[in-house]
């Protein structure tokens, strides 16, 4: 059993989970599809956890032993894992399964892109990454990113649902009426960002601590650092929007979506389009 085989099965399970959630949206009389979506997602999560552990072990067999968080491929796989993890936690706590239909596509896209478009070889760790800070920094950042991905999915649902609620009540039988109410979605959005914001803050702080330890400066306005701060500003604005007149609801949802777009740019765009200190693809 190799990790790459398990990763491939995981990708298929995420695909199946997403399709089941879509089916749950269309066919709302049967709760079977929603449950199937959740269980498949949890199965995939478990399998992916084993696969990541296995890849970690394989790296030791190759004599370059390090946590599988060292390049673009490994980070995208880990990102998918964290998205399903955060979704799973929200699902277990609040039981609004159908948000899976808007969250699983992110996880699936990550896995599909990593396995169809990237080299998956295990490489040795460059000197700059040989530190325990790698683990703390990457894990906190990606859990934060994942919570923002979930919040983005929920915000898209919110905007659709809110539009539907504002429009006439005539088309009651559409798919949108299976969504949770806009009040519930707004609350879930806030809950997801309440998980993501502290984690992003920790991610930035561990990054600063590592930079200070390795380079002697905790902040040097490197594009990666600056973009992480941009993301932090946007979600700080989101948190204040909830107590500001005129910003509650739609504008807050848009902030959440823009925040995730900035997150993705911070994660991928900076490495692929801009130059800087953070050029390991992670």
């Amino acid at each position: 059993m190799t990790s790459s085989l398990l990763f491939n099965i995981t990708t298929l399970l995420y695909l199946a989970s997403m399709l089941a959630f879509f089916a749950a949206l269309v066919n709302r009389t049967k709760s079977f599809f929603g449950s199937a979506g959740s269980f498949t997602a949890f199965g995939g999560l478990l399998l992916q956890t084993i696969a990541i552990g296995l890849r970690w072990k394989e790296s030791y067999t190759l004599g370059v032993g390090h946590a599988p968080l060292s390049n673009l491929y490994e980070s995208v796989v880990f990102f998918s894992w964290t998205i399903v993890l955060i979704y799973g936690l929200l699902d277990l706590k609040y039981r609004y399964r159908v948000i899976g239909a808007f969250v699983m596509p992110f996880a699936l896209m990550g896995m599909a892109w990593a396995h169809l478009g990237m080299k998956s070889g295990i490489e040795p760790l460059v000197p700059a990454l040989q530190s325990n800070w790698l683990l703390y920094h990457v894990i906190t950042c990606f859990l934060g990113y994942a919570a923002f991905a979930v919040a983005c999915g929920i915000s898209i649902m919110y905007l659709i649902r809110e539009n539907h609620e504002r429009a006439a009540q005539s088309k009651k039988e559409s798919i949108v009426s299976t969504f949770p109410t806009s009040r519930v979605l707004d609350d879930l959005n806030y809950k997801a960002i309440m998980i993501g914001f502290p984690l992003l803050t920790l991610g930035i702080i561990t990054g600063a601590a590592w930079a200070n330890y390795a380079w002697g400066t905790y902040w040097s306005w490197d594009p990666k650092e600056t973009w992480s701060l941009i993301v932090w500003f946007i979600y700080a604005a989101f948190l204040h929007a909830r107590i500001t007149k005129g910003w509650v609801g739609r504008r807050a949802a848009w902030l959440s979506i823009i925040g995730f777009a900035a997150t993705i740019f911070c994660y991928l765009g900076v490495n692929l389009l801009l130059s800087g200190l953070h050029s390991y693809g992670g």
Partner: protein, 460 residues
């Protein structure tokens, strides 16, 4: 935002206290920060400057775009953010402080109407017995209540985590603390670098602003080495460093290993492995195109040498194995830059194992001098980043305060419960500063527990 009736100071205060200003500043900071990630900061490379027009260059320089995070307008926005959060905190803090230190002990009818959770039921029995039983349940399940007698009724009040209301202000304070740490660092610290050749001792370093700084002690580089993985990728850059005081090695700082991610700190100054190179001599021969062995000369990394035709030459880059750049070739090679007397300059690669390429190059160029590379005498130098930042601990303190503050602000809630016992009627009310749904559930369970302890009609 302002009305005619408001006085000047009042409208200024309202402006700085407003959440709309907060939203404006956060979003503006997010948007304009993008500029500095697209335009290179510091001293932009010449390749970049060639891609933009002169007018654009002037505009960027005037606006401070090449060092935008230290420009007056960026600092102004950060300062406004600080003033905004101080003003908001000053406005709201006294009220919050009163809620915490002087809790409302009696649930009046007015208060009762504002509470999110209310229950009332009728029981019988003596008021003081009811009071004691309710107090016992509250103490066991929630918190020790304060009991007051008012208007012929007993009032019980219990609360949990009132101080969690301060967490938001702790987060705001932490932002200020981090800024203070950064200011201390920029006033009393410095960043610099130093190159030390193996065996050499230095006591001065260059700051980023090209000022020489006396360390007050000396550093000797004993050795520098690079380890590689089997595939040729670098595995470790290692300097062996000794700290000297008055020319004598300091016992615990002798032969210290300094690698990437593992710096050396002595007397508040930290040295980081950053770069390396060869400071030794490079050997060449020079002849005409006939290809016969010519005269030998040497040049070191930091100086230039004059060639027989009057042009000068210096080393730019070296490699022990040119095949990593050009797979068909092999052996050592150097890239040199030759300045001729007319002021022209060209970059040339001179090979050790490929004399024919060196001759071919000479033939194609008017100079006609044939250079052959004969290898180098290795004398490695290590490049160390040097940093002194007395403000860094203040920054970490601010970060700690921020993380703890955010955690408490998001996940802990000030929960209050009032109970009124009046002629066999029990009224229970409560509210929570966060997580209303969870609190509602807790209240329902609490009421069930009260009922079990009280002589209700249905209990009989």
């Amino acid at each position: 935002m302002t009305t005619n009736e408001k006085s000047w100071p009042q409208s200024i205060r309202d402006f700085f206290c407003s959440l709309k200003l907060t939203m404006f500043l956060l979003i503006t900071l997010a948007v304009i920060s993008i500029i500095g990630t697209i335009i290179p900061q510091g001293s932009p490379p010449p390749e970049y400057l060639q891609t933009i027009s002169q007018n654009k260059l002037k505009l960027y320089q005037t606006l401070g775009f090449f060092d935008m995070y230290h420009s007056w307008w960026f600092i102004l926005l950060l300062s406004l953010l600080c003033i905004n959060l101080i003003a908001c905190s000053i406005k709201r803090l006294p009220h919050i402080w009163q809620t915490i230190t002087q809790p409302v002990l009696v649930m009046s009818d007015g208060l009762e109407k504002t509470l999110s959770s209310r229950t009332m039921f009728i029981t019988n029995g003596d008021s003081s017995t009811l009071r004691d039983r309710i107090a016992a349940v509250l103490k066991a399940e929630f918190a020790d209540p304060v009991i007051t007698i008012d208007g012929g009724a007993f009032h019980l009040f219990a609360q949990k985590a009132p101080w969690s209301r301060l967490a938001v202000y702790a987060v705001h304070l932490s932002v200020l603390v981090i800024f203070i740490g950064a200011i201390i660092g920029s006033l009393f610290g410095y960043k610099g670098y130093v190159n030390i050749i193996e065996g050499q001792t230095i006591s001065n370093v260059m700051s980023r602003t090209d000022k020489e700084i006396d360390l007050g002690f000396a550093l000797r580089c004993e050795q520098f080495s690079v380890a590689k993985y089997p595939n040729g990728a670098p595995k470790e850059f290692k300097s062996i460093i000794t700290v000297l005081e008055n020319g004598r090695p300091v016992p615990d700082y002798t032969n210290v290993r300094v690698i990437v991610n593992d710096p050396l700190t002595y007397k508040g100054i930290t040295f980081y492995q950053s770069s390396y190179g060869n400071a030794g001599d490079y050997f060449f021969t020079v002849s005409d195109v006939s290809g016969k062995e010519g005269a030998t000369f040497k040049v070191d990394r930091n100086s230039s040498v004059t060639l027989p035709d009057g042009s000068s030459m210096h080393i730019i880059e070296e490699t022990d194995d040119v095949s990593t750049f050009a797979p068909a070739l092999s052996g050592p090679a150097v890239q040199v830059e030759i300045h001729d007397q007319r002021g022209g300059a060209e970059k040339v690669i001179v090979y050790a194992n490929h004399p024919e390429l060196n001759i071919q190059h000479a033939k194609e160029h008017s100079g006609g001098l044939v250079l052959q590379y004969k290898g180098s005498q290795k004398r490695m130098y290590t490049g160390l980043q040097v940093a002194k930042d007395p403000g860094v601990w203040v920054v970490w303190l601010g970060c700690l305060l921020m993380v703890v503050g955010i955690y408490v602000a998001f996940f802990m809630s000030h929960r209050r419960i009032w109970v009124r016992v009046e002629n066999g009627t029990i009224t229970i009310g409560g509210n929570a500063s966060k997580n209303q749904a969870g609190f509602q559930l807790f209240m329902e369970q609490l009421v069930t527990k009260f009922k079990k302890q009280l002589p209700l009609e249905d209990n009989k």
